[in-house]
């Protein structure tokens, strides 16, 4: 009887063959963004990338509070709301998510915990791939340094709250635990339900004679030079290459495809620098 029932149900199933309607979402990193288009990504970057779509209006720039823990309604809840609205209003069938830094972790939370929110399954089903620019998949020693180890200071830090939850989460020992418990896609763990490929920034160049030092703002890049001291030789000034490569697969290391073999430091990997947006546009 069950087989008959199933056969009847299958007979009713309609195969939907629609042309793909592709879209792209730009998902920022740590911070509370209200105008990420201008403040985080900047228009030339976004405009170049969305130019790779058949319908260049099929894009959304996410504005959420990624100072919060990933699972917070202000973080992944906000992301799910904005992605769901975008998918629905534009009829998106194949979504590419472009993330930067901790934005990759928020998306990985969503992909790893599809039953946490009833909006997640539809978003995942519509997702074609995630391109993670310099994702902090294994955290950063700089977050460890910021959330310091002094007894009294740590106790105070919890109460003061000025050290954001997102920074706390990106400590290397926290990410190690979350990667082993609540997130997928790292070595030895089940793969994510959709492709997650990263662009890895490998260095910071600030020599005044180097053309590599100015894109994205010379002074912005100077701060990353000193923080490089906490990091491995291969690092983008904020993240070790090993962290950027920890989840999914590596699409490329900056110098392999950026123009003139330049590197992309952590600021430059979200800016119109060295052909990066064109590489993204051609990969939508």
């Amino acid at each position: 009887m069950l087989r008959v029932f199933l056969a009847l149900l299958f007979g009713l199933a309609i195969t939907v063959n629609a042309h793909a309607n592709r879209g792209v979402a730009f998902i920022h990193g740590t911070g509370h963004q209200t105008n990420a288009l201008d403040d985080y990504w900047q228009r030339p970057f976004v405009d170049t990338v969305r130019g790779g779509l058949a319908n260049s209006a099929n894009f959304v720039v996410i504005n959420c509070n990624f100072e919060k823990y990933w699972w917070d309604t202000a973080a992944s809840g906000c992301l799910a709301a904005q992605l769901s609205s975008f998918i629905s209003s534009r009829g998106i069938t194949e979504l590419t998510m472009i993330t930067h830094s901790n934005g990759g972790n928020v998306v990985r939370w969503l992909l790893s915990n599809p039953t946490y929110d009833s909006r997640y399954p539809n978003i995942i089903s519509k997702t074609r791939k995630v391109i993670a620019l310099a994702p902090s998949s294994a955290g950063t020693p700089l977050a460890n340094a910021t959330i310091n180890g002094n007894v009294f200071e740590t106790s105070l830090g919890w109460l003061m709250g000025y050290k954001s939850d997102a920074v706390r989460q990106q400590q290397t020992h926290w990410m190690s635990t979350y990667n082993a418990r609540n997130l997928f896609g790292t070595a030895g763990r089940p793969a994510l339900p959709k492709s997650f490929t990263s662009m890895v920034g490998t260095d910071v160049r600030t020599a005044v004679w180097s053309g590599n030092a100015y894109c994205g703002g010379y002074h912005l890049n100077l701060g990353l030079e000193i923080t490089h001291a906490w990091l491995d030789t291969c690092a983008d000034g904020f993240l070790n290459c090993s962290s950027q490569s920890a989840a999914g697969s590596v699409w490329f290391r900056d110098f392999q495809r950026a123009s003139s073999g330049y590197v992309l430091n952590h600021n430059q990997s979200r800016r119109d620098c060295f052909g990066l947006p064109t590489l993204l546009r051609n990969n939508l």
């Binding site: 149900l9 002094n150 009294f152 740590t154 020992h173 763990r189 000193i226």
Partner: protein, 411 residues
């Protein structure tokens, strides 16, 4: 979930509700690395009231050549750093900075709320070694004050300054004096060139109430273990519970501690932190690791069932019985392994489901439908591995079975 899978879910739910087709299964006995709760709490976590209300299930394919670890290993943390907190008065008269290698990096950060202290400037720091003083940035390299650090999106507190002690000044005892500091300041010293490091590891990634947290620390100079003059520790919870503990010296130069896992339940999905501090021959090190902690409120009863049917569409449908003591939204998940042509067990798919459950006995389902089984390179006999029951209020691990079930759904 596609239309076909949704239809199958409806059909199988109907079939199982009659129990006419179900084959009863029992979970394998729990092994030493499995997590099984001893007692259940009937207190609902505060966060449970704001969770999703709709039941959700989802599955996705896994590559058959994926190599999955049965149980994730805890990370070993290593540190070449230490932190201290000093008052403005102490900084004005001079604070000792012991170093063990040339080129130490010093960060000074106001420790009050953002904006409550004056920004610190490296050029106002006087560095002293062996009676000789260095001021106005001399004796330092790669100075970055608050302006550069904030523009570079570095997450150090507002008003921080960072500099490297000129490696030409060598290692040993330095003193820094900061004139005009206000409020308390965190003095953070990182020695990237030092061979002295403090390692710390917990024996598990996640603990439950009633368990035992075992920690191992080791102070090493390169690969040589050295004795610590002092070694202490502290556990801090996301909600502010604090527990001091002491280490005991082991044979072989390491130190161990065993702490009862009897903390109160917290709704936060944040982690508990272990901080360990050591000193030896005047040198200092701090290191931290983290773990998840929960007070369980649900468990697997061990009873499960499947449908042993040969159908045109490949389907594996499992029901697990769950005992719930406190209302919340619970999640069950597991990895389905199948048998390939060579007889080896290989990963096929991952499935999760979640729904709100009130106290009592319930069942939760794992569905592997045609969307993940069509074209799979492995089939029955199946194994369900890494079965996890989780409370979504704190993402706390209620129960985990490395090898939960072995069954043949098409028998």
């Amino acid at each position: 979930m596609n239309i076909k899978t949704q239809l199958i879910v409806s059909a199988l739910s109907m079939a199982l509700s009659t129990c006419a087709f179900a084959a009863e299964l029992s979970l394998n006995p729990a092994g030493s690395v499995d997590t099984v709760p001893n007692t259940l709490s009937n207190k609902a976590l505060k966060a449970s009231s704001i969770l999703e209300s709709e039941p959700v299930q989802f599955a996705w394919r896994l590559e058959p050549d994926a190599v999955l670890e049965p149980v994730a290993k805890p990370q070993q943390s290593t540190s070449k750093e230490y932190w201290d907190k000093r008052s403005a008065a102490e900084l004005a008269t001079g604070v000792a900075i012991p170093t063990t290698a040339p080129g130490a990096i010093v960060r000074l950060s106001p420790s009050g709320a953002a904006g409550s202290n004056k920004a610190l400037e490296a050029r106002r720091v006087i560095l002293t070694k062996g009676g000789k003083s260095y001021a106005n940035g001399s004796g330092m390299q790669s100075i970055a004050d608050s302006t550069e650090l904030e523009k570079g999106a570095v997450p150090f507190p507002e008003g921080s300054t960072v500099f490297r002690i000129d490696p030409a000044l060598g290692a040993g005892g330095f003193e820094i004096q900061v004139l005009g500091a206000s409020g308390d300041t965190v003095v953070h010293v990182f020695e990237p060139n030092s061979s002295l490091h403090l390692d710390l590891r917990a024996d598990r990634i996640a603990y439950q109430v009633g368990g035992s947290i075992r920690l191992q620390a080791q102070l090493l100079d390169g690969s040589k273990s050295i004795s610590a003059a002092e070694m202490g520790g502290l556990i801090t919870s996301p909600g502010g519970q604090v527990r001091e503990f002491t280490f005991v010296a082991d044979k072989g130069g390491s130190y161990s501690a065993q702490i009862s896992a009897d903390f109160l339940a917290e709704s936060s999905k944040g982690l508990f932190e272990v901080q360990t501090f050591a000193s030896a021959n005047g040198a200092l090190r701090d290191v931290r690791t983290a773990f998840a902690y929960t007070v369980p409120s649900a468990r697997l009863t061990g009873n499960a069932r499947t449908l042993p049917l040969k159908m045109r569409e490949p389907v594996v449908y499992l029901e697990m019985d769950v005992e719930v003591a406190a209302s919340s939204r619970y999640q069950i998940g597991g990895v389905l392994y199948g048998t390939d042509a060579s007889g080896a067990k290989v990963p096929v798919a991952m499935a999760q489901s979640a729904k709100r459950l009130d106290p009592g006995m319930h069942s939760m389902t794992l569905l592997f439908g045609p969307d993940v089984l069509d074209g799979a390179k492995a089939g029955a006999p199946w194994e369900l591995r890494d079965l996890q029951l989780v409370n979504q209020a704190d993402m706390g691990l209620q129960e985990q079975r490395v090898l939960a079930l072995q069954f043949d759904a098409t028998r």
